[in-house]
Subunit: 211 residues, 2 copies
DNA sequence: CGTACTTTTGAATCGCATCAAATCTGGTGG
DNA sequence: CCACCAGATTTGATGCGATTCAAAAGTACG
């Protein structure tokens, strides 16, 4: 864990995450790296919120368990801030798990909030991040309201892909969970859609065929 | 339509909507009321975002239509801001319909954004509003991922009600849409749960019975 | 090379969607 | 005040599609 980051590191990270480009100098000084092993718990429900966190590499999942013990993925991040909405909460309302070995960029929550008050550009970037998140979640709710597996798949490719083509960055099993389907249903529906010519596959690229 | 609001009106509105209490004086001066009739379209997909809007009375629904023409409710508001996340967008990405006769409090978008830059308390209130919205949407995604009607109903009552009791402010048909169910499925499941003693009903009050 | 996990296919079951129709409700106008 | 209408509510019958349980094959990793 480093308590200080070199300026070229900031440049590289800022290239990848536009919000980071707006992090003011004072806040940068209090940033540090954290490494997590696959399977590690990053925080749990009820833990006090002390840090703002950004996934640099690997994958983090925010999950909650339903009464039957099945886990529901609330957020899945392979890059970018996690639990943004918890920053103004006292405690977390979900668990965070490292799905793979991860590196995180962390900021003390207090300093982060103070910087939001001080720096206009940073504040704007943060607000636009939250707004994007709201739109993305509304889109996900819209998708989960569709009751056929095929419709959810098409909706996902349209919403998360580029111009009808999706580059899948996760296992199909994880994708199924995000779509609110069992993995069996996803496998079968993808197969059927390929057979019917509604989808084309090329490696990890999934492409909608408009007839 | 009034172009200026009396100070006692502000007090009344601020009592009901805490975010409004933080609206700075300059922004207040540019606020006005708008009345909408039931069924009226407030804005459409693609319309430029010119105003921030708050529902004072009546009901507004943000909807999108799926390829089959069925409408999906993205947000339903009987009080409070609507389309908060669109404020930093150029155009709207959904339709807004007045489900009943409504009165809205509207602000020019430009002045609203400027006030967010100027006033710290207002900005904090707004950011916390967005964060609450994110949490609420995550909760809805969690609920829509449950595949039994009974589980969704219980989840809704726990999440949206107080301590296991929900006061229903909408028709059961609208509730069904919010739960991602057909109204028939909701009616039947509610009936079954009452018969089984899992739910108690008293007028519009729905109460979960822990056995 | 073995272990853990994902991917894939099969068969049976169940719950929700769908279509249909009757009843109830609130609001409107004669 | 009553007739009427649109919408919500409710019940019924049917079929489909996703879940569930099961098992086999493929894949990554130490």
């Amino acid at each position: 864990m480093l308590s200080n980051l070199a300026s070229n590191q900031w440049k590289a990270i800022s290239m990848q995450f536009s919000t980071v480009a707006h992090v003011p100098a004072i806040l940068r000084e209090s940033a540090s790296f954290v490494a997590c092993e696959a399977g590690e718990t990053i925080f749990r429900v009820g833990d006090p919120v002390r840090r703002a966190m950004l996934v640099l590499s690997g994958e983090v999942r925010l999950i909650r368990r339903d009464p039957n013990g099945r886990e529901v993925i609330l957020q899945r991040s392979t890059g970018g801030f996690i639990a943004e909405a918890s920053l103004d909460s006292r405690v977390y309302h979900c668990d965070a798990l490292a799905a793979q070995t991860c590196t995180l960029l962390v900021f003390p929550a207090k300093a982060f909030l103070a910087a939001l008050d001080e720096d206009v550009a940073f504040r704007r970037a943060w607000q636009s991040l939250l707004a994007r998140e709201v739109r993305k979640l509304r889109s996900q709710c819209e998708r989960l309201s569709l009751n056929s597996a095929a419709d959810r798949i098409l909706h996902y490719i349209q919403a998360e892909g580029n111009n009808g083509t999706l580059s899948l960055t996760q296992s199909k099993k994880a994708w199924a969970a995000e779509l609110g389907l069992t993995h069996e249903a996803l496998y079968r529906t993808l197969r059927r859609m390929q057979d019917e010519g509604a989808l084309q596959v090329d490696g990890h690229q999934w492409c909608v065929c408009s007839k």
